[in-house]
Point group: C2
Chain length 558, copies 2
């Protein structure tokens, strides 16, 4: 059969997070493969209580591991590289990334005890990486972290441009500007662009995006206007923003103190790799605590309300010897990611209780997005003139809107969510397969499947409480008097004021007394009967049916 | 001691939700009291899993029940009357409300089996209710539900205006307009306004609010432009919006079908009480299913992503014989309340998967807020010229901003969060007490305290999982071989691939074998030791410490 070019997202398509995109070229079922990005997404109490990190289930890729050539990482955000430390071993192939990104990937690998030398540091275009049927170039694009790259993936079936995350920023403060002439040249080479796999995050934002550089003046003016201690929070990886904030501090006679491990790490990797130059000297929390309040700016982690980050700690009181007070000022130089409104609100209110004046970026003065807005995406379509547009990095509604926009412009376009394999060889993309895709949860130190039922049981316990029943059956299949009931996460008293556990025990005792030998002799039947009674009694007495675990102990004759 | 005028919020101050405000007049500690509003707030998985309704803990009011004269309900929103059915019995005093609101209060009471005749239907000013030292008038204000009222509370210490929820809307479509001349008169009577207790919800919104009436044209144009089935969702209680939507449907040749119990109930109470007139005839879901798609508009509940409401049901597939399809249109004529972004997003994406075009109100065309914005609040301050402003109906940051605004205008103002008692007798408000305040959770059919630990245990099980250990000790204080371990919400396998429960059992068996008689003979010690080992072993094997429940069964000699 003829060779074909395939695209298969395993993460990031139908969601914003845990990016992982597979491209393949070869005979059907025998394509040689590359993986672009290997990121995480973050758990939440709603859908995944107790889970910090969520990553793509790579089962399909593991089954086809012998066909996988390499992993390419576009940039250093967690949703693009955060799973490398946890999943690299399952794939075992070389990783390619630019210098700053590569340094972050190496840290991830080292943390998990893997060899850092599997990372190959790759320069930007015109440097090329040849692997299997693919020739790959990293093309600098602007984004909210330095050294972001789009990938040019040349294959015998034509040229793919995989944008990664990008915006059209000619003055990004730190990192590479978006260069339309460079992209014009790329589009003009050879047969042009066959496929554009394109960031869809901001497809619903109607106005053109704004440059990182527009923030310098508003931020400086804001800092100048503050009379006491100034605190600013933003995404740790937004090194350009850190620089803008720090320079505003220096210009207004303040020293800068960085709080939060992620922030210090990003700045140090930035300096080590040469991406970041001229970052002002920083001072320690001790030094900051010793200076007059109007001579200090803290730049801190936790813009999304993370419970253990510096912002949250400061909002709760003393942290590393520093304490916020009436008249201090706190700037969220960040956007609240949907879903984080409540934790961010909690911090803002806690700061308000301390008398701290809180400023956010809602009016656009103190934050710009790192993603291309709708007109910017259109401009990229126009610049690259691809035959086919495949929207990625978006929830279903973003992908759908992006497809509609591309089609309205006369381009071929198709929605492919995680697990959908597209054949891109012909004029129009064609769905050719649905493969198993899913999510893995990092639970403590163990990777579990999202569908394993473990987290489902936790959610059920959280919603319904948990009743435990212990029953002892003696050597002659007699149930010892009184089942023992313990409740966890359930009201202790019934509506009528009785002790709920004792009440359930009474009902169970009555049942067990009259239970027939067939039921008592059969673990499954006994378990089922006890569970049913417990749930019924609870429903009557407190109006809810708890999860029930029954432990049946059978005494053995010596 | 001289008599004094006090204000004591028990809900709604320091949060948006579960409003409950106490006013009192009399000798300190002997004030006669009234309660304004008795609302609920809604639980979430984050902070209160398994809890649907949260309401104020009225312990203080119950202790002082003999001093309570009456309850006044300002309007029919759940956060102002939702707790009446659950808590009225603890107070046992008459309830006063206007007709539409009163009808809703009666339904709440009847649902819980309480006498509906405790509700006294009260006309608007100039009708007065005298109770104890208070003379109370309901003054119509505009809001997002009909018959909203501010209260004028006249006391020997002066006049209080309690705004309830309000906006400055001269053309609210349904219900009373805001009448500045009326308020001018009220401010000019007698000694003027001593205290303004004022809605703070939109204090951070810088532009003047917009009238409900501005939506009619955009909504009509939107409906006219749609080619297939049209669905619109909004808050069920926003009867003006329902009318605007329904009239747009009729004007564009569509029949209207209402889906969702709350929506049908609101419309029928609106019609019965005469608040709503000229609402178009509606059709049943069956009839709707039988008509061509371009002749129907569904108006449905679930604008906040509620899992069981009509919007969610429709997004998941067939509902009451109706099924959305490619080319249908779905309008969120509503704002997403902070914290609901994820569930609303889930519905939007599910609709996108069905091929439905989703429209939201982000550009302001299809929704207006029901609350006064910052300039509107300023205008009310100006109109009423109160001596003292007490901000309410807001999180701490809203209250603080409102106080700052009032002070900047030369007014006395003070933040009082739930439980803070203010003395309003003098020129400036004075904090005179902090009373116990808190939250009650409706868990199934039982009211539990938020601090009882029940929900805390559920959250812990959700985050950490739950390990159950059953141990049997015989008549001679020997532990029977093998503790039995059951896991709920925990990985079945250790990092090394072993069965986790069996592994913990092994470690426990080893401990129990060597345990001394003092430990085995003492339930508390044995429990503690088993719990500790279980947590340690789990930490080593899966990197997390579960909640542990130990059941020790001691066999008795016959």
């Amino acid at each position: 059969m003829a060779e074909r070019l395939i695209y298969l997202p395993l993460g990031g398509a139908g969601e914003i997070g845990m990016n992982a995109y597979v491209y393949g070229y070869g005979a059907p079922g025998k394509e040689r493969l590359i993986l672009v990005d290997l990121g995480v997404t973050f758990g939440d109490m709603d859908g995944s209580p107790g889970i910090d990190l969520i990553m793509p289930d790579l089962a399909w890729l593991q089954q086809n591991r012998d066909r996988l050539e390499a992993i390419f990482i576009t940039h250093g955000h967690e949703d693009h590289l955060g799973a490398v430390g946890h999943l690299w071993q399952r794939l075992g192939v070389p990783i390619y990334a630019r210098q700053f990104t590569g340094a972050l990937v190496r840290l991830k690998l080292e943390e998990m005890g893997h060899p850092a030398n599997v990372v190959n540091i790759t320069g930007p275009r015109p440097e090329v990486t040849r692997t299997g049927p693919f020739t790959v170039q990293f093309v600098p694009v602007s984004h909210s972290i330095p050294e972001s790259a789009a990938l040019i993936i040349d294959t015998p079936a034509g040229r793919i441009v995989h944008t990664g995350d990008f915006k059209l920023d000619g003055t990004p403060v730190v990192g590479d500007p978006f260069d339309p002439i460079l992209w014009h040249d790329i589009a003009g080479e050879g047969r042009g662009i066959k496929v554009l796999a394109c960031d869809s995050t901001n497809i619903f934002t109607p106005h053109p995006g704004r440059s990182e550089a527009v923030l310098a003046n508003p931020i400086l003016e804001w800092v100048m206007a503050q009379k006491n201690l100034v605190v600013a929070t933003t995404f740790a990886s937004n090194i350009a923003r850190l620089k803008t904030l720090a320079e505003a501090a220096i210009a207004s006679g303040r020293k800068v103190c960085l709080l939060g491990r992620a922030m210090r790490r990003m700045v140090s990797v930035g300096l080590e790799t040469g991406v970041l130059t001229d970052f002002p000297d920083t001072i320690s929390p001790d030094e900051a605590a010793g200076l007059p309040r109007n001579q200090v700016m803290l730049i801190v982690t936790g813009s999304q309300g993370e419970r253990r980050a510096a912002s949250a700690q400061l909002s709760r009181g003393r942290y590393l010897g520093l304490q916020l007070k009436e008249g201090d000022s706190f700037l969220f130089s960040s956007k609240t990611i949907p879903g984080n409104e409540r934790p961010v609100g909690r911090i803002m209110n806690a700061l308000s209780e301390l008398g701290v004046d809180v400023y956010d970026a809602d009016d656009g003065l103190y934050h710009v997005s790192g993603h291309a807005n709708r007109p910017d995406i259109e401009a990229l379509h126009e610049l690259l003139k691809p035959e086919i547009v495949i929207p990625m990095h978006g929830e279903h509604m973003h992908l759908r809107e992006h497809v509609q926009m591309a089609r309205a412009r006369g381009l071929q376009a198709e929605i492919a969510v995680n697990g959908t394999m597209l054949d891109l060889t012909g004029e129009a993309p064609k769905v050719v397969d649905q493969v198993e895709s899913g999510r893995l949860y990092l639970d403590g130190t163990v990777l579990i499947g999202a569908m394993d039922g473990i987290v489902r049981d936790r959610i059920r316990m959280a919603l319904n409480g948990h009743a435990l029943v212990s029953v002892i059956v003696d050597e002659e299949d007699n149930v010892l008097p009184d089942a023992w009931v313990e409740l966890m996460g359930l009201p202790g008293r019934t509506r009528g004021g009785d002790d709920l556990a004792r009440h359930v025990e009474g009902e169970l005792a009555e049942f067990l007394e009259g239970a027939d030998a067939r039921t008592v002799g059969d673990d499954r039947k006994l378990d089922e009967a006890i569970r049913k009674i417990t749930r019924q009694v609870a429903m009557e007495e407190i109006g809810k049916k708890p999860e029930v675990t029954v432990i049946i102990s059978r005494l053995m004759a010596d």
